[in-house]
């Protein structure tokens, strides 16, 4: 994935938004048109696009140093995201069209994230120039990732179904933390003066693969064998492929990789 190495944030955001929205719609339409739920895995794939966008936003904002550690901003992203998702799905249900959901979610998340960014700069006086767009990105990424994984577990975009399959069962807690891991962990693990965009983002994709394994296990319970197993296998493949790639990048960026061997015998 050489294209991750020096892609500018605007392009990455575009890919993230388009990829996640198109993916979720594709999965939802295929599932409902063919009256099946094997296409639920597309939701988890769509979430990967959102996660890449979110991880890149974390890396841009946190490079300025926010003083509270990287996890705080990841939790903020997921906190804003879960509210946007529930609000959007509920509104779509009230308006009578399930397919409106992702659009409402995206608009609410974008506006709310932007306002949080403005508050951070104007009231808390952070004075980080990209705080507004960074927070809008984070909020949208968190929302789309949570929506993608919720869809992967429940197989529909219907508010009542997602409530029943994802919230009432408690799987929301798993995807909440797995999402936090995928969005905040990459920069937290790779930060430092030699932090490279491609290494961080490959790590993000790898974590999304782990999240997909988790949604696969949950989908086994909610949707049955075929969709769950499909997600598990694809998630494992993604994780394995990108773990190898990540290891290669780590070796590329490290000045030396040496084996330390076992602990030396105790000297008396």
């Amino acid at each position: 994935m050489a294209f991750l190495s020096d892609m500018d944030p605007k392009k990455l955001r575009l890919y993230g938004l388009v990829g996640s929205v198109v993916g979720i719609y594709l999965g939802a339409i295929l599932n409902s048109a063919l009256n099946t739920n094997v296409f639920s895995f597309i939701g988890a794939i769509a979430a990967i696009f959102a996660v890449i966008m979110g991880a890149n936003a974390v890396r841009r904002v946190c490079a300025y140093g926010i003083g509270t550690g990287v996890p705080s901003i990841g939790m903020l992203a997921l906190g804003m995201g879960i509210i946007a998702v529930m609000f959007g799905l509920s509104m779509a249900e009230t308006l009578g069209s399930v397919l409106l959901g992702p659009i409402i979610i995206l608009i609410y998340a974008g506006i709310f994230g932007y306002i949080i960014g403005v508050i951070a700069n104007k009231v808390i006086k952070f004075n980080i120039p990209i705080m507004e767009e960074g927070n809008a990105d984070l909020s949208m990424a968190g929302a789309m990732a949570l929506l993608g994984w919720s869809f992967a577990i429940s197989g529909t975009l219907g508010y009542v179904d997602i409530l029943k399959d994802v919230l009432m069962t408690g799987y929301i807690a798993i995807i909440f933390i797995a999402g936090g891991l995928a969005i905040l962990h990459p920069f937290n693990a790779n930060l430092g003066p030699d932090e490279k965009q491609d290494r961080t983002l490959v790590n993000a994709v790898m974590c999304s693969g782990i999240a997909m394994i988790a949604t696969g296990i949950a989908a086994l319970m909610t949707q049955g064998l075929a969709p769950g197993l499909l997600q598990l296998v694809i998630g494992f493949a993604i994780w394995f492929y990108f773990f190898k790639m990540y290891y290669r990048l780590v070796k590329r960026d490290a000045s030396a990789v040496v084996g330390t061997g076992l602990l030396p015998p105790t000297v008396q």
Partner: protein
């Protein structure tokens, strides 16, 4: 449709809950990574982890109290829509739950600092502990900003934890009354909680010792920021439905 006055009351309750969370964070002695190495006073973890921990325990305690009220109402053959949820009991339950969580975290943390790390508890922000009156500077190791959890930090942390739990319960209570779905209300409350906790932790820039810390004077900024964020969140939360 819920009538307007009640909706406004719900919005105000969520707003006050968000503010309590935001201010409560300022009371918690957050030491961050330096405290984990016993080079600063406070609990050795980040603000968000502590705030989320106390808030979630508060939510659980409040949710348990509401569920108990619902069950006792059903047992007395009161229709589901007419059960009277006593807000004061719910709030007290949330505050006490979060206070216990924060207190036990600080107590066990203190054991580690005292018996494993072997550091004397001292604050570098005050010369005399305002509660015990003990002199602090002789016990502050050179090159550090205090160690462990001194009495003043412990008391401040208890207040902060209880405020966080109170805030969590105050957010959960109206949400549950609006949509009647415990899981949805809890997730929504967690979202509101995290947003407010992170904004407040940005305000204290990572570490604080408690209400005696000079950084505590910055709380009006967090008050304003959390008020704006909570209003926006409250407007969204009164519009969602419980999905039948």
């Amino acid at each position: 449709m819920i009538d307007t006055t009640i909706t406004i009351v719900y919005i105000l309750e969520i707003l006050v809950g968000g503010l309590l969370v935001g201010i409560g964070v300022h009371f918690v002695p957050v030491g961050g990574a330096p405290a984990a190495m016993a080079q600063a006073a406070g609990i050795g973890t980040g603000t968000v982890q502590l705030a989320a921990g106390s808030g979630l325990t508060g939510l659980l305690a409040a949710g348990l109290m509401m569920e108990a009220m619902r069950l006792s109402g059903l047992a007395n053959h009161i229709p589901a829509g007419e059960i009277d949820y006593n807000i004061w009991l719910v709030l007290a339950s949330g505050a006490v739950g979060a206070g216990i969580m924060m207190g036990s975290t600080m107590l066990t943390g203190s054991w580690i600092y005292a018996y494993a790390v072997g550091a004397p508890f001292a604050s570098a922000k005050v010369n005399y502990d305002p509660i015990t009156g003990f002199s602090q500077p002789p016990y502050v190791a050179p090159g550090t900003v205090g160690q462990g959890i001194p009495t003043i930090c412990f008391v401040s942390g208890l207040i902060g934890g209880m405020m966080g739990g109170l805030g969590g319960a105050m957010i959960y209570y109206p949400l549950y009354l609006i949509n009647g779905n415990a899981a949805l209300s809890a997730m929504f409350a967690i979202g509101i909680f995290l947003v407010n906790a992170v904004i407040a932790s940005w305000n204290i820039q990572g570490t604080i010792e408690g209400f005696h810390d000079p950084k505590f004077k910055k709380w009006p900024f967090a008050f304003k920021a959390c008020a704006i964020a909570s209003i926006l969140l409250a407007l969204a939360s009164v519009m969602i439905t419980g999905g039948a």
